[in-house]
């Protein structure tokens, strides 16, 4: 399956294609996305993220076509 991932710039983009999509095995969870993005463990509690714009946890199961979004503050105002 494929999920769309809006990853933070400090993540690894190795597993993301040009459409920012990531291929994952069936039954994958958000934790698998974090692992592929190589998000450092100490940072994880401070990140704000959603799956399909809903609050999610690392064990949230993913489905084909899901959207995983990370908060990236816009400079501005």
């Amino acid at each position: 399956m494929k999920v769309k991932v809006y990853a933070p710039a400090f993540a690894s983009f190795q597993h993301l294609d040009d459409d920012s999509s990531m291929k994952l095995p069936e039954g994958a969870t958000l934790n698998d996305v974090f692992r592929r993005l190589k998000i450092p463990l100490p940072l994880r509690p401070f990140l704000v993220y959603t799956v399909n714009y809903e609050k999610a946890g690392l064990n949230t199961p993913l489905n084909n076509g899901d959207v995983v979004s990370f908060l990236t503050p816009l400079a501005g105002g």
Binding site: P8, V48, Y53, S69, L71, P73
Partner: protein, 660 residues
């Protein structure tokens, strides 16, 4: 039934004649409403060479095409006129509740020409429009005047909506704006001075007409989809504003840029409003410091942390939203500890104001900024320009160009809160040195002379927004290339990346991740991005859209879908971008007609990093702004060397009638 009324109201203040004029459907299909309709009308009604403060100038209050149609985040109105500050195209916009009130009176826009011989206000409801005496509110500040007129014109169905100038507009300060909703302000371009020159104190709207939409069910579905997402995105309570500072630190070290999902920022706006950037911008380099000549190191952690979003939030007693907004980044805050202050509350100051009177002046006193915010909102003075004017004066004083004799004894210095407040009061009352500064830094430096020009940060006469072009080079392009120079709301790389136009617009370059250094290159791809975002912004300003909704991404907040639902036009995104290009080109043609040479809209050398800063996150950064501007002109179909729209472009956009 297409979301617009098909009519404007035209008021001649010299003769008192008020007429409704029909606007053909083709005009909306070519220019939308808002800034586009404003530009169309002004081009036709203002004679070439008109004095911006004379009777020939035309001042318009225009609603957005989508305002009131059931769409969300589309409640902004646009003020338009020839700008007395820049001598060219002038516009400014504001949220609140005034935009739908224009349409509820049965018009898409209300335009004024001429000059009244005594102070007046225009009253409009669904049945009548009349000029009324405003002598009793002339001399009152914007909030006092609004209170009086609100009471005077209240009807059974509620209070009217009012746009009003404060004392700065009356005194024709060239950095004055037009206020609504008790101190919100359409601040830029000096349009308050145009209103003051016409002796028009206020526009009072009490109509109750229905605003139409071609396909309300579809609009409801689109709005619900967006609203549903925004409601669910929240920042957990335990995450404090310090997180933003840490994120900014990280951001300043990043060597690459990724495409974000802009709607996630809704959580930040809901929690902190635009004040989220107060410290973040200082840390990552977005915020100009010490009149664009310093860094966070000059400001100092202990001072800039006094402006932290969490501290500002502690002052907030109420949150509010503009019309049709589902985010609600506005608020009302308590003012404390200002001995000379008489105000208890103010609108929570926006980031721009906090930075203009904070980092730009090395002022870490939050109370003074809350107080200054209320002073400016009541006077109706643009905080961006006013902050730059004070910074200019401080630097002139520091370098011996101004003396205590010039300042009336004020010892101007960075971070001297008391002197800053006193100087600002001089500006508002147009007394002493303040009289010079009240017309912006360009006019002040011309009158002061003595080499003061090198401390006057402006582009084409207008002071730039508080976003550093050395941090986001495309911001610098639009500070210079936009027909209203100095505006921070037209385009930058961050906006482009957040909006993700490539999802809808066939020619918008697609990106996923790229090295940050590419933003500092004068490249064809960057120019195409600049064209795309600036034309898109014209569409947003044509529909009454909110900048922050725009940055949530076209995949989340889609004005093209909303426009088609409201009008049944079935246009593609490419066609809407062409409308944006038409509006932007018409504004440029207006400037050319008025004798503006676009090549003179040059960034102050500091804005281009010339010389580069020696420390902080922008250390060593310089930007080839004018090469980038020339490429932008070329990609707009304007001459790359002069910025004049090419004949073929004028023909392609069907603007031939507008060229003399």
């Amino acid at each position: 039934m297409k979301g617009y009324t098909g009519k404007i109201l035209f008021v001649d203040l010299s003769t008192g004649r008020i007429v409704a004029e029909p606007i053909p459907d083709e005009v909306y299909e070519s220019f939308l409403s808002g800034v586009g309709l404003g530009c169309y009308v002004l081009h036709k009604k203002i004679p070439k060479g008109a004095d911006p403060l004379g009777p020939d100038n035309v001042l318009g209050f225009v609603s957005g095409l989508l305002t009131g149609t059931g769409s969300v985040m589309t409640g902004r109105w646009m003020a338009v006129a020839k700008s007395p500050l820049t001598g060219g195209w002038g516009d400014a916009n504001c949220g609140g509740t005034f935009s739908p009130a224009i349409k509820r009176c049965g018009y898409d826009g209300i335009f004024f020409r001429g000059t009244s011989d005594r102070p007046v206000y225009l009253y409009v409801d669904s049945h009548k429009a009349e000029l009324r005496d405003a002598t009793h509110v002339w001399g009152k500040d914007a909030v006092e005047a609004e209170d009086i007129l609100e009471e005077e014109c209240a009807k059974k169905q509620g209070k009217p909506k009012i746009a009003v100038i404060g004392t700065s507009g009356e005194k024709q300060s060239l950095i004055s704006g037009i206020c609504n909703d008790h101190g919100r302000i359409a601040a830029r371009s000096g349009l308050g001075a145009v209103m003051g020159s016409k002796k028009l104190k206020a526009v009072v709207l009490a109509g109750n007409g229905r605003i139409t939409c071609e396909n309300p069910e579809l609009m409801k579905t689109i709005s619900k989809e967006f609203t549903g997402k925004v409601r669910k995105i929240n920042i957990p309570r335990f995450l404090s504003g310090r997180l933003l500072e840490i994120a900014a630190n990280l951001q300043s070290r990043m060597t690459r840029v990724a495409v974000p999902d802009g709607i996630m920022a809704a959580g930040i706006l809901k929690k902190w409003g635009t004040g989220f950037n107060n410290v973040m911008g200082v840390v990552n380099g977005d915020t100009p410091i010490k009149n664009w000549n310093g860094s966070g190191l000059d400001f100092g952690k202990s001072r800039y942390r006094n402006l932290a979003p969490d501290l500002l939030k502690q002052r907030e007693v109420k949150r509010y939203s503009c019309y049709s907004c589902v985010v609600g980044c506005g608020g009302i805050s308590r003012i404390e500890d200002i001995a000379e202050g008489t105000f208890r509350e103010t609108h929570t100051p926006e980031y721009e104001t906090v930075s203009a009177f904070g980092s730009l002046l090395l002022n870490g006193n939050l109370d003074s900024i809350l107080y200054i915010n209320e002073l400016l909102n009541r006077a109706g003075m643009d905080s961006i320009s006013a902050g730059h004017a004070v910074a200019f004066a401080i630097e002139c004083f520091e370098n011996g160009i101004l003396t205590s004799e010039d300042t009336g004894g004020l010892q101007l210095a960075w971070g001297n809160t008391e002197a800053i407040v006193k100087l600002l009061k001089q500006m508002i009352h147009r007394e002493g040195l303040g009289d010079l500064l009240a017309d912006g830094v360009k006019a002040a430096s011309r009158r002061i002379g003595k080499g003061s020009l090198k401390y006057a940060i402006h582009v084409g006469g207008q002071e730039p927004g508080l976003h550093d072009s050395r941090f986001d080079p495309m911001m610098g392009v639009h500070y210079c290339a936009d027909p209203t120079p100095g505006k921070h709301t037209i385009g930058c790389f961050q906006y482009y990346n957040y909006v993700q136009l490539w999802n809808e617009v066939s020619w918008a370059p697609k990106i996923s991740i790229y090295p940050k250094y590419e933003e500092y290159l004068a490249s064809s791809e960057n120019a195409t991005k600049s064209v795309a975002i600036s034309c898109y912004k014209q569409v947003i300003d044509g529909i009454g859209g909110c900048l922050f909704a725009m940055t949530m991404g076209v995949h989340n907040w889609n004005p093209f879908r909303m426009l088609n639902a409201a009008t049944n036009w079935h246009k593609t995104a490419d066609e809407y971008l062409e409308i944006g290009m038409r509006i932007q080109t018409l504004k440029q043609l207006f400037n050319i007609r008025e004798g503006i040479d676009p090549r003179n809209n040059r960034a102050h050398p500091r804005m281009a990093g010339n010389p580069p800063l020696e420390n902080g996150p922008l250390e060593g950064k310089s930007v080839p702004i004018h090469e980038m501007v020339a490429l932008y002109w070329e990609h707009m179909g304007w001459h790359g060397e002069t910025g004049i729209p090419a004949k073929e472009t004028v023909e392609k956009l069907s603007l031939t009638d507008f060229v003399a």
